[in-house]
Symmetry: C2
Subunit: 150 residues, 2 copies
């Protein structure tokens, strides 16, 4: 049987969120939170619109997911995000005891992995590289457009 | 001349915030953001009330400060917080390019210093130990009371 709702499907939804950010002039990062094969939260980076450095896609998505569930712990949830989370977001995912993290492209400069996987909760499963190219292209195009504008 | 608005004065204000958290059954951590010797944001830990792991005193305070200033960067601000920030909060302070961080008690388990000072922005000045005992006593009493309740 073909599995309709697989990691590629949900990462595609995260990319759609990233594209919304792009259109708003925000660094294009998107995220969705999934529980029982159902999307319970969607968000994109919104730091410029909100004048708030904490308004990363992951932070908004996990706050929305916790609000939806009425539970601040997301042990049975998967967060899909187009880019490797930064240290702030990894710290938030650790507090939320996230069940599973799936990210697309790596972020060598700002990604949490420079501090090691111990930034996350020890029970959080991690996968990456899902639709990596699509996420990277969005980022590359965004910064290329910005340079043109300056 | 006696300086009225010194680090002790502002840390006392952060402790007052922590006491509010205590009364609400929240882990007692408080913070204030100061610009030009003026408090522009006050907050306390509110994770239980908001069902949101990201609702730490520092995150709420820096979001409020950025909103007040209309600027997401807090280069000319000092954040006073009663407890050493966690990795999530340190990551947020880094994005905000915080000018100066002053914290009271250290947090060996969850504090950002386990990952090193490089978690913060390279230009952020850091001081700690201001009114450390008062902050510690609040935490110790809080967890002692909680154990009694169980």
């Amino acid at each position: 049987m073909i599995k309709v709702f697989d990691d590629n499907y949900f990462m595609r939804q995260a990319i759609l969120e990233a594209e919304k950010a792009y259109e708003l002039g925000e660094i294009p990062v998107g995220a969705v939170v999934v529980a029982n094969e159902r999307i319970i939260a969607r968000a994109h980076n919104n730091t410029e619109q909100l004048t708030d450095v904490t308004a990363h896609a992951e932070i908004i998505a996990l706050t929305a997911a916790a609000s939806f569930l009425g539970n601040k712990y997301l042990e049975d949830c998967t967060l899909y995000v187009t880019l490797e989370p930064c240290a702030m977001c990894a710290g938030a995912l650790a507090w939320a005891k996230l069940g599973r993290l799936v990210y697309g492209a790596s972020d060598d400069k700002r990604g949490f992995m420079q501090f090691g996987k111990r930034m996350l909760h020890p029970k959080t499963k991690v996968e990456f590289g899902i639709m990596m190219e699509e996420s990277k292209i969005l980022m590359t195009n965004f910064f290329r457009d910005r340079r043109k504008m300056v």
